[in-house]
Amino acid sequence: MDPLRSYLGRILLEEITPVVMVLSTPLAEAACRKNGLSFVDMLSPFSLFKKIDVPVRTASEVPYRLQMFKIRMVYASDVRKEDCEVADEKIKPVVSEANEKALPDLLSDPPQAEDVLGKPEAELCPLWIKKFNRELMRTLSFSEHETFDHPVACLLVVSSMDKEPVNKFVDLFNTNQLPSLLNEGIMDPQILKHYLVLHDQQEGPQDIAVNVLAEMRSTLGLNDCKLLCINSSTEAGGSNADNSWLPYKALVLNNHDGSCILSVDDLNEIKDFMQDFVSNHIIPYMEQKIRVLNQQVATTRKGFRNQIKNLWWRKRDDVPEAPNGPMYTFTSIESQIRVLGDFAFMLRDYELALSNYRLLATDYKLDKAWKRFAGVQEMSGLCYFILDQSRKDAEYCMENAFSTYLRIGSSGQRNATRCGLWWAEMLKTRGQYREASNVYFRVSNEEPSLHSAVLLEQAACCYLLCNPPMLRKYGFHLILAGNSYFVSDQKQHAVRVYRNALFVYKQNPWSYINNHVHFNIGRWYGVLGILDVAIKHLLEVIACSHQSLTTQNMFLNDFFHYVQSMGKKFDVYKLQLPVFNMSSLKVLHEDHRTYASHADVGVSESTWQELEEELIPSSSIVKTNWLDTQPMRKYKDSCICVAGEAVKLSVELKNPLQIPVAVSGISIICQLSSTLDALSSDVSGLDLDGGEDKVNTEPSISMLETDGDKFTLSKLDIVLGGGESKRVQLDVTPKVEGILKLVGIRWTLSESVVGYQYFEFNAQKKIKKGKRGPHRSWNNSLVVIKGLPKLTGSIDRMPTKAFAGDLKLLTLNLRNHSEYAVKGIKMKLSNPRFLIPGDSSDIGLKFPHCLKRHVQSESSVVSAKTMKDNFKSLLFAFPQDIEIQAGAALSWPIWFHAATPGNVSLYISLYYEMGSSSDIKYRTLRMHFNLEVLPSLDVSFSVSTSSSRLQEYIVRMDVMNKTPSESFVLHQLSCVGDKWAVSALAACSSINSVETVSENQAVSYFFKIKDCEADSCKEAESDSCTSDMALCPGSSTDLFDIARSPFVDFHHQERCRQVKMAKGPCSLLDFVLISKAVDNSSKPTPDFELLSHHTCHCSALSQNPIWWLMEGPRTISHDFSKSYCEANLQLVIHNSEAHKILVRVVTFDVIPEKTVHPHDSTSAQGGWYDVSLESDVKAISSSKSTHQEKRSSKSIPPYVWCSLSCAQIELQPDSCARVPLKVCIFAPGTYNFSNYELQWKVHLSEGPHVGENENRLSGGGLGYPFYVTVLQGV
């Protein structure tokens, strides 16, 4: 590519051109002013010659032709270096002008990556930027160290109306008024002069002008004087004249608004004048000057001799260091070389120019005239570029010039900028965009903010043009440019460049940058008054959870500020504040399943179904006739809800910010179409269209709001604290039948912004209603059916925490809110251990007095309620005649007993049928309670056989209070059933001291129980045997009747539950311990807390199938002087097994009992051993006995068994036998007749025997101690 055709080439051709200084008289100017133009303005359109076709011959002999040529017409007063500030002020309008043009663009969408990347360079870098660059370069015009701005010629203009025009010419070229360049000797004042008489045709005939011209020619020279006539057209021809300007219009200044009285002839005359002026005067003058200067330079500087001389001369000259180097006048050879170079450059003899510049560069370098040196370097760089010879040299020169300019400080700053601009253009022409952008960036650092902004924008463009495009740098430089624009108060530009950078940050989660960009765009749009776009951008940043609190505050405040400035509520689709967690969305609608409270819905459907198994009729029963069910089938796909009943939608919303946010009016957006026919098409249609289309297709929110007569919506106002999440429940209550479509959610943020969000049904799997129905996939449509009766239910005073054993009478309240009656009420409870429905008679009874034993013991009540023996759940049918009328309520007692410690979920499902016919035959009311049962009293019983009496047992009750702070009063201990009687031990008939078990206290009680029904051993026992025993001193009269309804029912449940744990097969007995909580505080508790602990299947310690006891007199009085004493004893043996047993009794005399320890006996009698330690105890006892045996083996027994030493008896099941024994005693004393042994063998009856312990089948045991005191009788 020809470098001259490149953009930089064109700039150079247009900018580095000969300057013609214009000096004009006021009258001449006035003539031009009639057209609204100055003289220069009038001529400048004709100063560009596209095809001048002039032959040129410079230093070389070969002529060449110039085609395009341009001269610059400048008033003499303008030929001066402008002040920097003034110049900058001139540039400002270029930028601000573009500002206004940018405005419409700002309303469109920001550009996308594809758009930007596809754009050619010209579009990326708009025209005004190029204009700006030129203006920036022009601020340096007419500098001292460069000569291409120095006037080449001078045009002196005098009006024909001026008096003494020839004298005027002399006055015009008065040195006082000439620019300083000429006066100060920087440039040669002997320049080409051209004299022009301007004649206004309207002022008079042309003759005057002709005369003046003649006079001028005679005095000033023949060729240098010209006559120019203007304003020849009449006023009427103004429109024609307008047209004649057309070819030059682009070049004419914009202020061409006045009437134009220049005719076509005038224009042609001007054109001819200019052509003549340039081709016949200026160019030949320059040619000539070049040749003269070249000659001069050749003689003084060219050649070996001159070079040596030059070096020597310069060396000798000790140049003082000055910022601008030494002063060079126009006569100095350096200035002449420079002029020669510049003239050659302007006449496009670049070879000549370059050789001179290079020559000059060394000189300036030696002189340390850095600014001039840089200027020369700059020009040689351009020459290299245009000659397209050495890229490296060109770049080197430019860089050298650039850094040199920078080095000399502020005076060279703008020069550095111009150099940089040229350099960058040069690099761009060669496709080195990266380097170009670097140059732009370096230049921008040196410039004030406005200029730097434009330069940075150009740097950004260069990054985009790189291959591959460096988008991130593009974005970054745009952001920098935007900031500079903003600083220099160019908001439109700031917004524009920020917008252009948006796409860079869009995809990547560089949230900090993204937020910054969006926030600033939004803010600046707001400042510009384009509020809707401002809000749109600010919306992107308001949900910034990662920013600091202050930043969040700032974002939010600005957002609300602009929203309020809008003056109206603002609808935002998918407003990010607060964040609605759509995956947490749950829709709760009640068809035949209704729920007592919100929490009940969370229970899995399978739990309910399992519970309701027996309760609800199977589906075949519901569909009495397939014709009836036809409409139902239609709804099969969709969910059903009932008119008048709220459909609840719960969703979680989260405030991502650290600032509290007020959200008001949260409600569902929904539609209710009342025609059933629309169902099929609507439902399918809605399923298909995705969330994206919805934005367009959905009617606006305001329209949806008007459906108020068809349904009512709940509105919820909440304040979300910083970072808080809340689950909200929204209701919609349809009022008429039809199809209810749940479309989305709307809410108002801080009373000013309305956010709305539609449900996305593509994500159906996510919000699949596993909870609602296992076979239904949820969609947004609900079929609304006719209103149905509905019961609401609750249990009064249902505890959430209770102590184990707590017994309460609760009330189940049912209320029918609808206008229809319900009947056939049934109830199923999941855990009858905890809840058992009472009788209708229980209503109004005073708890706990109703449980007290009444005088007339009505034991017939017992087991009035038949348990279904399904201890997992309990089905309870209310009496058939119970109907709950419309608006009526029903209360029913329910007994509560906290059976075991732990967390328990209680489920109740209530079934009821419709009084009137409707789409749904029945409904269920589901209730669910979570209960935490705390451990209270830990009660355990150990039963061991009494060794002193048959059919009597010693019971040890261990009570441990496991509560940390509660005390309990033991009230009553009861044995269940009539078989057993409980009484205190004779020794300690009063246990008053330990009636209260305080916290963490463990207490053991001992009781005696007696088998009242044991007929085999029924001895005269007339003393009162009751199954209840009061533990409290004063409570013996108000004992609770454990045979009454709640006790017996709960006990039954406990029995069923505890059966698995019980091991022993025989003699099972159940205890019920009733205790009362003692309130530690003095305040009387309104609730009387009654606790009942049921311990079932306690079996006696006795593991032996037989049970034996020695009977006989305890004291014998005998006169040993006569004979020895004979004592008759009886061994009573009882078979407690269900089989025959063979028992063998062996007595032996070996073990004597020499010493008697009364203490031993008592301890033995009261001996009690833990059941679990049974074997160990046995071992101990046996070892003890053997030990005794050994110890006393040598001594002679003081008594001997007589009558028999061995007896064998066969015992029938559950019977007693007595073996008579006789013992002979030889001396008075106390004797223990325990040295006998029993051995037994169980004869199993026929039939399978499972679970029998093998070692129980046979065994043996030593005798129990039996002490007899024999006294010496008189």
């Binding site: 460096m470 991130r472 740098k473 970054f476 990547n508 989660p509 560089w510 940058i513 910054h516």
Partner: protein, 142 residues
Amino acid sequence: MIVCVAVVGHQNNPLYLQSFTEADDALKLHHIVHCSLDVIDERVSNPKRSAPTLNETFLGLLYPTENYKVYGYLTNTKVKFIMVTTDLDVKDADARNFFRKFHAAYVDAVSNPFHVPGKKIASRSFGARVSTIVKSFGSGTS
């Protein structure tokens, strides 16, 4: 002194960015790190420049800004480590050493079974380890 270290995922998404200055210049550092990705991209796509060391993870000086020097490091999984320092004469060996330690810390952090690949590194122990590495870098050079 190191002013900022960053981990950038293979899709050029920021995984970790920590500045070690008191000033509130997070945005600036974000921009610097973001821009340096362009340079890394360029280095990776034109491997001729770093031809002598084909499998070199250390990318060297990415670009000098006015006050900072930016160094880069590219792992086999195309995760980039970027370090911004105010030291004007950093020895390559120091930078290499720093990145080696930083890489080890990163590997340990992403080996955490609770770390989701491609998500921001939230591990506090990683942060602590990085700051010790950064501190040791400062002391090593001085």
